[in-house]
């Protein structure tokens, strides 16, 4: 079907509108992050700033000494959490990497056995898995908090890692099972005849064949962990253990809102995940659609 020039023009316009809406919050954040608080408060009408400053970003990484920058003349108070931003970036990275590795390891072990061993209770297991996907974290976080308190897992990075892995595993297993099941058993049987154990077959044959889906899952799990707010917010109250989203939360509700600083933080917070999505576009699309359709 060929499109008429008029239809094409309409489609171009629609695309421009959609793209503008997709970029609107990012654009707004960039504009705000490049302005001083004085500028933002001084002119409430113009969209494009006349002056541009990098001070918001400098403050985030320079620590204490440059906190009296040019952008806050007259404002002595700055949210304390800003000082934790560097630590938070490290914490978030440790947690996200650990959760990704654990989910991939546990998930592929379980998914492989579900796909290959035809045990009766596995049907139930998969049903429960689908069910677990729907149980909202808000529901589990309260008892989890009480339980982790007793186990001494609150205020620790491992606590957050264990909790997030548990919440993301059902999703991982749901994605991996159909994929493992689609690998022809003949290849594995050939290896088994040659004397390889089941575990060796899994490591040497099934896993290498599953690299694309593991990349998809890994990317999605990393993003989910990096973006997660509720688990670290509730399990960790120590400032040293804050993750990036928790630092972001602590910037609101204080005496004054620093929009420039807030937008700078938000933009840096999304940098790793946006980079990941743009680099691994095809894998992310694959993983997201596989998770919902092939349940």
């Amino acid at each position: 079907m060929r499109l008429s020039p008029l239809a094409k023009a309409v489609l171009h316009i629609l695309n421009v509108i959609v793209i503008a809406l997709l970029l609107l919050p990012i654009g707004a954040a960039i504009i705000a992050s490049l302005q001083s608080e004085v500028m933002l408060r001084g002119d409430l009408r113009s969209v494009i700033p006349r002056d541009v400053t990098w001070d918001n970003y400098k403050i985030l990484f320079a620590g204490d000494e440059s906190r009296e920058g040019t952008i806050y003349s007259g404002i002595a108070y700055l949210p304390d959490a800003i000082r934790r931003f560097g630590t938070a970036l490290v914490n978030s990275s440790i947690i996200a990497v650990a959760v990704t590795l654990l989910t991939l390891t546990f998930g592929s072990l379980t998914a492989y056995s579900v796909a290959r061993l035809r045990l009766r209770w596995l049907g139930w297991f998969m049903g429960l898995n689908v069910f677990a996907r729907f149980v909202p974290i808000v529901v589990l976080i309260i008892p989890l908090y009480v339980a982790f308190r007793q186990l001494g897992l609150v205020n620790s990075l491992p606590g957050v890692i264990i909790a997030q892995t548990g919440f993301l595993l059902p999703f991982g297993i749901l994605i991996l099972v159909p994929y493992f099941a689609s690998i022809p058993t003949e290849i594995e049987e050939a290896a088994r005849i040659d004397g390889a154990s089941r575990f060796t077959t899994f490591m040497r044959i099934s896993l290498p064949l599953s690299v694309p889906i593991l990349i998809s899952l890994g990317a999605i799990v990393f993003i989910a962990s990096w973006n997660d707010l509720l688990v670290p917010l509730i399990l960790n109250t120590k400032p040293d253990l804050m993750t990036v989203p928790v630092v972001l939360v602590s910037l609101i509700g204080d005496n004054a809102v620093f929009f420039g600083l807030l937008c700078a933080c938000s933009l840096i917070a999304m940098l790793p995940t946006v980079a990941l999505v743009m680099l691994l576009q095809r894998y992310v699309v694959e993983g997201l659609t596989a998770g919902a359709v092939k349940a």
Binding site: L3, P25, G107, T110, L140, I142, I252, M270, T273, V274
Partner: protein, 286 residues
């Protein structure tokens, strides 16, 4: 091989789920947490919950939020998926890449950015309206109790659209072109082709989206925390916000919080049962 998974499941999913039921039936506030003894109170928490006007308001706010966002998500997802499916239009290919962007943005970062967009004094939207002359005076986007819940819904929809669009787009790509060519030969307009062919074939994916997105909308949290904190008044108190506030801010009533979270879980459980039944029916059909 299943031991690590089972252990994690027990620790993080099964145990808390059962423990939540236990907490809901006991009195658990800061005092009890310190002493380690939780007196049994039976259904008192559940009763307290359902006579609390704030909880009922939260439920109705949640329903409004879910209906608004899920409808918008599905309609927009179909429209945008159709748009990016036009591979001969070069701008569509740009949209197809950029549509993924919101998926990567941390919900809380998105929420905070929108506090700047919505701000009354010098917020981005008001700047656009004032500098282009579309409005005489700034608009209080989040301040109107009647519309605040919709204002909170917009950033939420912005963030969740990629997933919906991708699902619809995947379904569109699985469709055979033959139907369309046959219909075009018969003289069907694009509009007729959409209603007679595309929409019926999208039905399964729409059902999936309906359930998945509703389950996600009823537990919305990050945007509420970032943008309104439940306000103005109780206009944006939603169910998850209720559980959080009752449990982790004064009065730190974890029993009540657990009871409210359980009520929410029952609603979502019903939704997921429907979902599982639909999947199994689909699996049998093919």
């Amino acid at each position: 091989m299943n031991v690590p998974t089972l252990f994690t499941f027990l620790c993080v999913l099964a145990y808390p789920a059962l423990f939540a039921a236990y907490l809901a039936l006991h009195q658990v506030t800061l005092k009890q947490l310190r002493s380690g003894e939780y007196p049994f109170v039976g259904l008192a928490n559940v009763i307290k919950l359902f006579v609390d006007p704030l909880f009922l308001i939260s439920l109705s706010n949640t329903a409004v939020f879910a209906i608004f966002t899920v409808t918008a998500e599905i309609v927009l997802a179909i429209a945008i998926a159709l748009l990016i499916n036009q591979s001969s239009v070069w701008t569509s290919r740009i949209t197809r890449v950029l549509i993924l962007l919101p998926f990567a943005v941390p919900p809380i970062a998105n929420g905070l950015i929108w506090t700047f967009i919505y701000d009354y004094n010098g917020g981005f939207l008001n700047r656009i309206l004032l500098s282009t002359g579309l409005a005489e005076s700034p608009i209080h986007w989040l301040g109107n109790p009647d519309t605040a819940i919709y204002a909170v819904g917009v950033p939420y929809i912005w963030r969740t659209l990629p997933f919906c669009v991708l699902l619809v787009h995947a379904a569109l790509q699985g469709m055979s072109r033959d139907y369309y060519e046959a219909a075009a030969i018969d003289g069907a307009s694009a509009w007729q082709r959409f209603w007679a062919i595309t929409l019926p074939m999208l039905r399964p994916v729409i059902v999936v989206l309906l359930i998945l997105r509703t389950a996600s909308a009823v537990v919305v949290f990050d945007e509420i925390l970032a943008l309104t904190g439940g306000g103005p008044g109780d206009a944006t108190w939603v169910a998850a916000w209720y559980s959080y506030r009752k449990s982790f801010q004064p009065p730190f009533d974890l029993g009540l919080g657990a009871a409210s979270a359980y009520a929410l879980a029952v609603i979502i459980g019903l939704l997921s049962l429907i979902y599982i039944r639909l999947i199994y029916r689909r699996a049998e059909g093919t």
